[in-house]
Symmetry: C2
Subunit: 376 residues, 2 copies
DNA sequence: CCTCTTTGTTCATTCTGTGAATTTAACTGC
DNA sequence: GCAGTTAAATTCACAGAATGAACAAAGAGG
C-alpha cells in the first residue's frame, strides 16, 4: 500500500504528464525536500521512472513519469459473450488479451477468471509479479465501495458481492464498476480527459450510458444512479420504453432504437452508417429518424450542460459516425437548447472507440484504486 | 487562521451536531489524543464550547458544540431594494438587522456597507470583536474564488471584483456568491441538509434558481453555471423566453410566469395562492395553468434526479404553497418521469422561507469560508 | 576558467498525530 | 458506603512527514 503523498504524486503525474520534481513539488504544495524523498521511494518501488532531461539555464531538470511496467492491471467486461479479459500496463496500454465464457453465476465467473488469468499473464512474464489489481465492468448499479452489484437487469443480480468473491478466489485486489462509469474513469486516467476536473462521458451504443466526473472524481450519486440519462423523459408522452415509462431518451436515440425505427419504417438498413447514406440520398424516412434521434440526444446533452456545466462532454461510440446528419442535428440541438450566453462554451467531442472499451475501462478501475485509492 | 484539522473538526460538528471528543475522533479518523488537543485549542479560541454532559456507564461524555458567540458573520443581499444586512451568529441565527439603499456601483456599495456596519454591530457589543467574515448574495455568475462577479444581468456587471473592493473598504474578509448557491450553502451549514452530502436546492420565486452540493461541497460547474435549470428546455418549441430561446422552465413554472399566464387568461389572481383557490373552485383556466407549471417543474426535478441522483431535493419558496394542485402535479410529474425502479427513492421536500433567505445565505457564505476555508 | 542559474539532495528541526499508560468520573452490585 | 467495573478524557514519550536552509550538481555563457 502507498502513502497518501505517494498516491497524490501519482495522481498529479497521471493528470499533468511527465514533470520535474520541482514542478511537481510546487503543484502539490510541498517542499522540494519532501518531493525528493517521495520520488526516491516510488522510483525504488519501480512505479516511477526518470525519462527526459530538459536542458535550460541552470541545472537540467529530469522529468518523472509513471513507469509503464510499474504496475499491471487486469480488466474484464461482463457485457459481451465471450467476455474479454485484457492486461493493461500503467499507461493504459493493452499488452495481452484473452477471452472466457460468460456466466451469470458469480462463483463460476470467479472460477473462470482464475482459470483464464495464467493464460493472460503468460504473455508477459514480468506482469504477474507486478499485477496490482483486477477490475470488472458490468451493466447495472454498483455500490460506492465498488464491491457489490446492487442491481443488474442484464445479469439478473441483486446485491451480489462479486468483487469479494473474485478476490477470495484469485487473491487479487478486485473492484467492479458500472460500464459507463468505467469508461469515464479510463478517459480520466489514460484518455482525453486526463487534466479535466469536471466532465461527463456519454457512451453511445445499443443503449446509452453516462457518467460524471466532478472535481476530478467519479460522482456516483446517492444510489449509484448518477448519469442514468438513458431514461430521462425527452419526448413527453412518447413511445413506451422497456423501463415502464414513456419517451425516454433510450427509446429515440439509442443505436438500438434507431435501428428499430428504421425497421418499422421498412428501411433495409442494418447500421447507423447505412441509414446516414440513405439520408444523404434523400430518403425522407431516414432523414426523419436521424433528425428525431439527433434532436433527442442533443436535447439531453443540452440538459447536461445546463444542469452541471461540465468542462467537456465526451461521446464515445463503437459503431456509427457523428459527422453525418445525426451528429450535425445533435450538435445543433445541443447548442440551441442551452442558455444562449453559454452556448459554445462547453466542448462536445465524439470519439470512436474499439471493442476493448469495456475491458479497458474495467482495468482502469483497478488502476484508479491503485493510484488514488478507494473513494472515501 | 485555523489549521486544517481545526477546520475539519468544525465541519464535522456543523454536520453531525454536538458530539463527544471520542465520537468526533472516531468520525475524523484521529486518535483521542489528537482530538484532545484540537478541542482544547478551539475552546480556548472561543469557537467551541462544552455543552451537555451525557451520563452512562463509565465516565460521562461531554458534548462539544460550536459556540454560538464564537464568531459572527454579516450577510448582505443585493437582490432587493433596500438591500438587507443581517448579523448572524455561529449557529445561523440572525441577531441583528439593518438595511441600506441598493446601488449598481460597486464602490458605492462598499461605501454604503461600511456606513451600515457600525449600526448593525451596535446591537451586539461582542459581535464587532468576533466578526469573522462578510458575505454578499447577488443574482449572476460568480467566479470560483467567490471574489469576482463574472456576469450579472440584473446589476449590469461584467467581471466586477466586488469582494476585493468591499474587503479593501471595510477590512473584513469578504466573499460573494450567486443567490441560489448561497441558499444551498445555508441549508448545508445551518438548515435541513446539514448531514446530507449530495443534494440540490431549487429556489422557487419570481425566477427559478438551483444549486448542487456534491460530496459535501458546493459544485459550481466549470463556468459557474451548474444548476442553471431555469433555462433548460422543458417544452420544446414552447413560448419564447427572455433569454432568447424557447420553452425554458422559467417561461412556464416560475412564479412570474404563472402570474403572467393568469393575467393573459384574464384571471384576477395576484398570487399563486389565489390561483390555487380559483383552481379548487373549478376554474378551468386556473387548473390548466397550474397543471402546466407543475408538470414542467416536476419534469425538471425528474431530470435532476435522473442526471445527478441526489440524496435530497429541497424546494425553497417565499410565496405560494406546495400542498395544492401545483405541488401535487409537480410531485406526480417528478415521480412519473424517473426510472420506475428509482421512483420514490429521492426525497423532495418543500420549505417555506422568510424574507431573510438571501441575506442569511450570504452570511452563510462567510461562515462557510471561516469553517471550511476557500474551495480549492 | 570562472560566474551565474536552476535543479535536486542532505540534515537538523518543527509539527502533527499515535499508542500506551494514566487519570477522571461516573455506574453497579453488595 | 465501598470496592469493582466501565468508558471518557488527558498526558507523555515517540514516530513520521514536511520544512527551511545550506549545499552539491550540472549545465549556460562570457
Amino acid at each position: 500500500m502507498l502513502t497518501s503523498s505517494q498516491q497524490q504524486l501519482l495522481r498529479v503525474i497521471s493528470q499533468s504528464g511527465p514533470s520535474s520534481r520541482t514542478v511537481l513539488a510546487a503543484s502539490m504544495g510541498l517542499s522540494k525536500a519532501a518531493m525528493s524523498g517521495i520520488a526516491r521511494d516510488l522510483i525504488a518501488l519501480g512505479v516511477l521512472r526518470e525519462t527526459e532531461t530538459i536542458y535550460g539555464q541552470g541545472r537540467p531538470s529530469i522529468l518523472l513519469d509513471l513507469h509503464p511496467e510499474g504496475a499491471f492491471f487486469v480488466g474484464i467486461s461482463l457485457l459481451e459473450d465471450p467476455a474479454p479479459l485484457v492486461l493493461s500496463d500503467f499507461n493504459g496500454n493493452i499488452v495481452a488479451r484473452q477471452t472466457m465464457p460468460l456466466s451469470r453465476d458469480p462463483e463460476i465467473i470467479a472460477a473462470l477468471i482464475s482459470e483464464a488469468l495464467p493464460k493472460l499473464l503468460a504473455e508477459r512474464k514480468d506482469a504477474a509479479r507486478k499485477l496490482s489489481g483486477l477490475g470488472v465492468a458490468l451493466s447495472g448499479f454498483v455500490d460506492e465501495k465498488q464491491e457489490s452489484c446492487v442491481q443488474s437487469t442484464l445479469l439478473g443480480w441483486q446485491d451480489v458481492p462479486l468483487a469479494r468473491i473474485i478476490r477470495q478466489k484469485t487473491g487479487i485486489q478486485t473492484f467492479i464498476e458500472n460500464d459507463a462509469k468505467a469508461v469515464a474513469v479510463s478517459e480520466k486516467l489514460f484518455g482525453i480527459a486526463r487534466d479535466i476536473q469536471n466532465f461527463s462521458v456519454v457512451s453511445f451504443d445499443d443503449g446509452i450510458g453516462c457518467a460524471h466526473f466532478i472535481r476530478g472524481e467519479l460522482y456516483r450519486g446517492n444510489h449509484g444512479g448518477a448519469g442514468e440519462i438513458a431514461h430521462c423523459t425527452i419526448e413527453p408522452n412518447g413511445s413506451p420504453c422497456r423501463c415502464g415509462k414513456r419517451g425516454c431518451l433510450d427509446t429515440v436515440a439509442s443505436l438500438k432504437a434507431i435501428k428499430e425505427m428504421a425497421k418499422t419504417e421498412g428501411l433495409a438498413c442494418q447500421s447507423l452508417n447505412e441509414l446516414e447514406t440513405e439520408a444523404s440520398l434523400g430518403n425522407a424516412a431516414a432523414i426523419r429518424i436521424l433528425h428525431r434521434a439527433g434532436n433527442a440526444l442533443g436535447l439531453a446533452i443540452a440538459h447536461l450542460i445546463q444542469f452541471n456545466d461540465p468542462g467537456l462532454i465526451l461521446i464515445t461510440h463503437l459503431e456509427g459516425r457523428f459527422d453525418g446528419l445525426f451528429g450535425t442535428v445533435m450538435r445543433q440541438a445541443a447548442e440551441a437548447n442551452v442558455l444562449p450566453r453559454c452556448a459554445g462554451q462547453t466542448p462536445v467531442r465524439t470519439q470512436h472507440v474499439d471493442g476493448d472499451v469495456w475491458a479497458r475501462g474495467a482495468a482502469s478501475i483497478a488502476a484508479h484504486n491503485f493510484l488514488i485509492g478507494p473513494t472515501p
